[in-house]
Symmetry: C2
């Protein structure tokens, strides 16, 4: 198609774009034996990455979607490693149930803790949430160190979040941290194998489940 | 390595993580004939995606880095399609030169314009910036419709931004919008071919250039 035509014809209606995108993604999911709700989570992740190669590397704990829905409906909060994840999560629907989204990575106290301990700021941020993580949803979309810290809090300090969406990205620690998440059996999780991931991927997973609870969509 | 060891040994220092990541990425760039500054932009994009397959699909206009540096140093603003891009851009360094980052997608007036015209909100947001886009940096990390609209403003309304970082994502319009960006010759651009892209990718490209101007790093 010549560019002049593309400029006239491109789809401008949000729901049409979303529906067309989900149609394009569907064939890549058909052999994965997913439930209808799992298809929604997978599709939104693939849509957010523009990358169908996510299909075989997404790892969903069998209780993850149900646990997330229950947690949201009971008004629990979401704690994130970075501001981009906090920004992306649909807070309007969450607020209807009483939940909020928190991120501490830019706090002065967290910055000092990170410098004092020679750790990353997102790791210090998760540590400083402490007991608040009990009964919460945790969403990590950037820092492997933040996910390692959450897993340490679960193992050593017996913190019990309802679900961990752990999808940090990169070549240093991300794959290992996500492997450790999938290996523990205490907390339902959503993750992605390997080096890929990132804020929009963690956001996509959470928003897909939030939208299941939003009757206006 | 057993998981217990990984928990003890993972790297916790931010600059060490970044340097190690850049080392891992370097071999994937060596045949691309890049300048030292281009390597920085490519590396940060690949780091943000956790995906070395970005290496051959990144498209940098020869003047893009120089134009972005000049624009930032002259205190120009950055206009984004979505809040996640606004959130991710390093505003501290930008502010030293007098620049700010703006996003209108959540504005009530933009919502009304989008409904009235049956277009996406990010498209309406770019349209409502209007003349402010002259001499600015535009950063699009989500919506193909926003990039199409910016290209229409350049063609039809003779808006002249200094540079367009256009890296929308997805299966509906993203590849076409980025092809159109790379085909025009008026405005220097940074983009990625195909369906991949997203907020952290657009943010990575801009921040890589901002960091070139930050002597404290």
């Amino acid at each position: 198609m010549p560019l002049e035509r593309i400029f006239m014809d491109f789809i401008k209606k949000p729901m049409e774009i979303e529906n067309r995108s989900m149609e394009i993604i569907a064939p890549y999911l058909k052999d994965l034996n997913l439930t209808e709700e799992e298809v929604k989570v997978y599709s939104r992740i693939i849509h957010a990455a523009g990358d169908v190669e996510y299909a075989p590397i997404i790892k969903l704990h069998p209780q993850a979607i149900a646990a997330t829905k229950t947690a949201i409906k009971s008004g629990c909060n979401i704690y994130t490693d970075v501001e981009m994840v906090r920004t992306g999560i649909n807070k309007r629907t969450l607020a209807k149930f009483g939940g909020e989204v928190f991120c501490k990575v830019a706090d002065e106290e967290v910055k000092k803790l990170a410098e004092r301990e020679s750790i990353t700021r997102s790791m210090a941020a998760m540590r400083s949430f402490g007991d608040k993580l009990n009964g919460s949803i945790i969403a990590i979309g950037n820092a492997p160190t933040a996910l390692f810290e959450v897993l340490r809090l679960v193992r050593e300090d017996h913190i019990k979040p309802e679900v961990i969406v752990g999808i940090p990205v990169g070549f240093v620690g991300a794959a290992d941290s996500k492997k450790a998440l999938a290996k523990q059996s205490q907390i339902p999780y959503i993750t992605v194998e390997g080096t890929k991931g990132g804020s929009p991927i963690a956001v996509a997973a959470i928003n897909a489940i939030i939208y299941m609870l939003d009757n206006s969509r």
